[in-house]
């Protein structure tokens, strides 16, 4: 299935990645080759086969409803790029 630069750009947008114009053809080519590789799965008959998300038939364990984490703001914000009054700051979001 041929992939176009436009396809690549729209996927990149979903992933919040920017592709320079100069690199676009190369990225599209490599991307296309990988897709060709994986497209071969189309030929396998999977009628009635349940998709496998986890390799074992495990069931979710439940955690008791208790508070085990206290205030760790200082520690966890030590590495933050931009913090003020305890808020993480980002460029203004328009809603």
């Amino acid at each position: 299935m041929p992939t176009t630069p436009a396809d690549v750009l729209s996927v990149a947008q979903l992933a919040r990645l920017r592709i320079e114009d100069s690199a676009l053809d190369d990225v599209t080519d490599r991307f296309g080759r990988i897709l060709d590789l994986v497209a071969q799965l189309q030929q396998i008959d999977t009628e009635g086969v349940e998709p496998m998300s986890n390799p074992h038939d495990m069931v979710q364990r439940l955690r008791p409803d208790t508070v085990t984490e206290g205030d760790q703001r200082e520690e966890l914000q030590a590495a933050a790029p931009s913090v003020e009054d305890g808020f993480f700051l980002v460029p203004r979001v328009i809603d």
Binding site: N54, R61, E84, F87, V90, V93
Partner: protein, 482 residues
């Protein structure tokens, strides 16, 4: 052209667990920014989710409360999108296999009828954080305390046709949630958030029109208004021959209009896929039945029982069962007073008014159910007239003691002794011959008015303590005898 408004509601209910759905951070309202956001909530590298047992329990309780099928196998999925209040860049939700499947919720309407709402599904998911837009120049502040709060998203079929139905549903949902104790369902505080899907179609049509989604309407009144203005907006478009754009809108309360949400304009491909860090939740019949056995009596059942057992009307019964606390208060008081109708009146009348004025919930009432019952007993046995009873009620509210103690202390015993009243009536008649003559010469209609004068005089003489019914009867009798 007659247009029919068709609506479906999506309600996000914050579950009142102690800790978050996937981490052990506290789930409390009002903490300072990011003091309740642990490494898991922040989506820090290497962190993993673990599921809160209580969130599962609350979801099942809700499902049983609306008679829904419980999804014995439910799965979490990742809903992928970028937004600063969504730390991992995906929200863990349930898309393919929810924990609650179809149900039916019967909503009591004001006219006593039951409006059936089909619940499509309800699923568990995590809440996102909050953004503060105006505090920092050119910046938005992100507080992730709310990130990871457990939510139950409840989705209905497009069964609503009027704003009245929508609001009644929301009120009943609030009632159910508080009965079950799974949420405080407070729209103003954000623990119950409502999205409304609205579309229009010609009356009689079977197909659905294009719908818009109005997000996060946070009061019953705003729900009514938002529906009204959006329906009108769509009607204007359609009648002008245009098409309604499928989009997400916000209700602006100041301008009383809906507007398009700019940030959601770019169509989001959420790329749902099963969450690999969590495993399927498997619930067996034993688990589900154990929860069912522990369910409290639900509003619908309680309402029916009140009507049957206490001979209350639909309206009173509905009001009393609105909150579990009020229903329990009523039953406690009635068990003592043995006068259900009277008790209902007192609770829905004077008590409710006093609570409203003081902005108190019934759980914080200074007048206990037992105390109120004591008062009602004295009204029922005619120790107190209604008027005097109000004074006693004030005394109870001020914590002056029990009803009996207040009656004693303030000397408020109603005079019911016929002999005593007769004496007072006689005195007033002797003192006012002119008015007596006037009365006897008047026609029936005017007599009624003039009677009031005599009633007032006797009341004055008895300091308001004459039993009004006895007084009226005696006056009519004695004035007629002349």
């Amino acid at each position: 052209m007659n247009w029919e408004v068709v609506m479906g509601l999506e309600v996000h209910l914050q579950l009142a667990t102690e800790s978050k759905i996937f981490s052990g951070a506290a789930n409390q309202f009002g903490a300072r920014p990011n003091e309740q956001a642990c490494a898991v909530d922040l989506g820090m590298p290497g962190m993993l989710p673990v599921l809160n047992a209580q969130a599962v329990r609350y979801a099942v309780m809700f499902g049983l409360g609306v008679g829904a099928t419980i999804g014995k196998r439910s799965v979490f999925d990742r809903k992928n999108y970028f937004y600063p209040d969504l730390p991992k860049g995906y929200q863990v939700s349930q898309f393919f296999e929810p924990i609650v499947c179809e149900g039916l919720f019967e909503v009591p309407m004001a006219d006593g009828s039951l409006f059936p709402v089909r619940i499509t599904r309800a699923h568990l998911e995590e809440d996102a954080g909050k953004s503060v837009h105006d505090a920092y120049a050119g910046q938005t502040g992100i507080d992730l305390n709310r990130a990871g709060t457990p939510l139950l998203e409840i989705v209905t079929e497009p069964d609503f046709r009027t704003a009245e139905q929508a609001v009644a549903y929301l009120k009943s949902l609030h009632s159910l949630a508080t009965y079950l104790g799974i949420s405080d369902g407070n729209m103003a505080e954000g623990s119950m958030r409502c999205d409304i899907n609205v579309s229009l179609r010609p009356q009689g049509s079977e197909t659905y029109g294009t719908r818009t989604e109005i997000k996060n309407v946070n009061s019953f009144r705003f729900v009514e208004r938002a529906i009204a203005v959006e329906a009108e907006r769509q009607r204007d478009i359609l009648e002008a021959g245009g098409e309604v754009t499928q989009e997400t809108r916000l209700y602006d309360a100041d301008r009383n209009e809906t507007r398009s949400m700019r940030s959601k304009e770019v169509a989001n491909d959420y790329r749902y896929f099963p969450e690999p860090d969590l495993l399927p939740i498997l619930l067996d019949d034993h688990y589900i039945e154990a929860i069912r056995a522990e369910l409290p009596e639900l509003p619908g059942a309680k309402r029916s029982r009140f009507i049957d057992t206490y001979a209350l009307n639909d309206y009173d019964a509905s009001l009393l069962v609105d909150s579990r606390a009020m229903a329990d208060y009523f039953e406690t008081a009635t068990a003592i007073s043995k006068a259900p109708k009277l008790t209902a009146n007192w609770i829905l009348g004077d008590l409710a008014a006093a609570l409203n004025r003081a902005a108190l919930d019934i759980t914080a009432s200074p007048v206990s159910a037992e105390a109120l019952a004591g008062l009602i007993l004295r009204v029922a046995d005619e120790t107190l007239s209604s008027k005097l009873a109000k004074q006693v009620f004030d005394g109870l509210w001020q914590n002056e003691g029990s009803a009996d103690a207040i009656i004693e202390a303030r000397g408020l015993k109603q005079v019911t002794d016929t002999g005593a009243i007769e004496a007072m009536v006689q005195q007033v008649i002797d003192d006012h011959p002119g008015q007596v003559a006037q009365y006897q010469a008047a026609d029936e209609g005017k007599q009624k008015k003039l009677l009031g004068f005599f009633v007032g005089q006797v009341m004055k003489a008895s300091q308001g303590q004459a039993n009004p019914q006895r007084l009226n009867a005696l006056l009519k009798d004695m004035l007629a005898k002349r």
